[in-house]
């Protein structure tokens, strides 16, 4: 059965103020059933208060073969990381 049923990606927002985070995928015939399946599979232990489902087919993914040209050039641009500031201890965790 699952072979004929579309795949959906599931995003859960754990709390108000946080963003939806990808948690996995489910099979469902349509968007209504996809939300129910996501609720039943991924929110059994109080994981969140909002669910998004997106057809997996609607997601355009980067090509793993292009990983080197996509991501490695940023590796040496260490000046983009805010690591050159001295932060007083009193500020605590940032």
């Amino acid at each position: 059965m699952s072979g004929e049923v579309p795949l959906w990606e599931v995003f859960i927002r754990p709390r108000n103020g946080l963003s939806h985070k990808h948690v996995g995928s489910i099979h469902a015939a349509d968007e209504v059933m996809a939300l129910q399946a996501a609720r039943d599979v991924y929110t059994r232990r109080g994981e969140g208060n909002s669910i998004w489902v997106v057809p997996s087919a609607a997601i355009t993914a980067s090509d793993p073969d292009q990983a080197a040209e996509n991501f490695e050039p940023t590796g040496e641009k260490i000046y983009r990381h805010p690591t050159f500031y001295d932060i007083p201890d009193e500020v605590g965790h940032m």
């Binding site: 489910i26 399946a37 039943d40």
Partner: protein, 244 residues
């Protein structure tokens, strides 16, 4: 003891239907439903536990919720016949769930203002659970009823097979004259409205029942309940007093 009997009837409905749903665990047609059906089973069994515990208190003879569930025989069970009907195929399972939840949601809504604190407390939790059961089972009924030729045929077969048990939902039983519990007969219009709306989308019609099946409230059950109880009670009866 009238309230005791009425609470026991409600508890038996929830435990037996919850056990039926739990039989799908590990056998559902897809992982998503393998989790959804036991989720609903756990809602029902949770309600049953509270009600058995309350029934045991009302009785005051030192019985526990486990004694209530595991040490009563088939003729002592007071559940609706609808709740014990076998799972058969998915159409039967989701329709049985819809029939039950479409009754229990307005029932618990009416019970929210009960003078009985335990009943009102159970109602507060159960209203939300039943709303989801209606939604989940209802969406399946719509998709199967308005689906393929085969799913539509199976959905119609399920209506044919199960509708004869729905009249029993509206019999007052032991709750007759108990103010702390809602009138069951008064729920019928709300139940019919829910079923008609979903059946409208599912291309199904609500049949007129010539020979309604009743008897669960006086312990007259179908042969399936004995098998269900034998399996459910086997561990407790082999190891009386065992806890886990």
């Amino acid at each position: 003891m009238a309230l005791f009997d009425a609470v026991l009837e409600l508890a038996d409905d929830h435990l037996v239907l919850g056990h039926r749903l739990s039989e799908w665990c590990g056998h559902a047609p897809m992982l998503e439903e393998d989790l959804a059906l036991p989720n609903m089973a756990l809602d029902l069994i949770g309600t049953a536990r509270t009600l058995y515990d309350y029934a045991a208190q009302l009785e005051g003879e030192g019985r526990s919720e486990d004694d209530m569930a595991y040490l009563r025989g088939e003729r002592e069970y007071r559940n609706l016949l609808l709740c014990e009907r076998p799972n058969e195929d998915f159409a039967h399972t989701v329709l049985r769930q819809l029939y039950f939840a479409a009754f229990m949601k307005p029932y618990w809504e009416a019970a929210l203002s009960s003078s009985d604190e335990v009943i009102a407390g159970v109602a507060g939790k159960a209203v939300k659970e039943m709303a989801y059961h209606i939604r989940h089972a209802g969406e399946w009924v719509i998709r199967l009823g308005d689906g393929t030729d085969e799913s539509a045929r199976r959905m119609k077969d399920a209506v044919e097979a199960l509708h004869i048990y729905t009249g029993e939902l509206f019999e007052e039983g032991a709750a007759e004259g108990i103010d702390a519990l809602p009138s069951r007969a008064a729920i019928q219009p709300a139940w019919e409205a829910t079923i008609d709306e979903i059946f409208g989308h599912a291309l199904l019609s609500r049949p007129v029942v010539q020979y309604p099946q009743t008897g669960g409230r006086v312990g007259k059950h179908g042969e399936g309940l004995g098998h269900l109880l034998a399996e459910m009670q086997s561990v407790y009866r082999a190891h009386p007093g065992a806890t886990w």
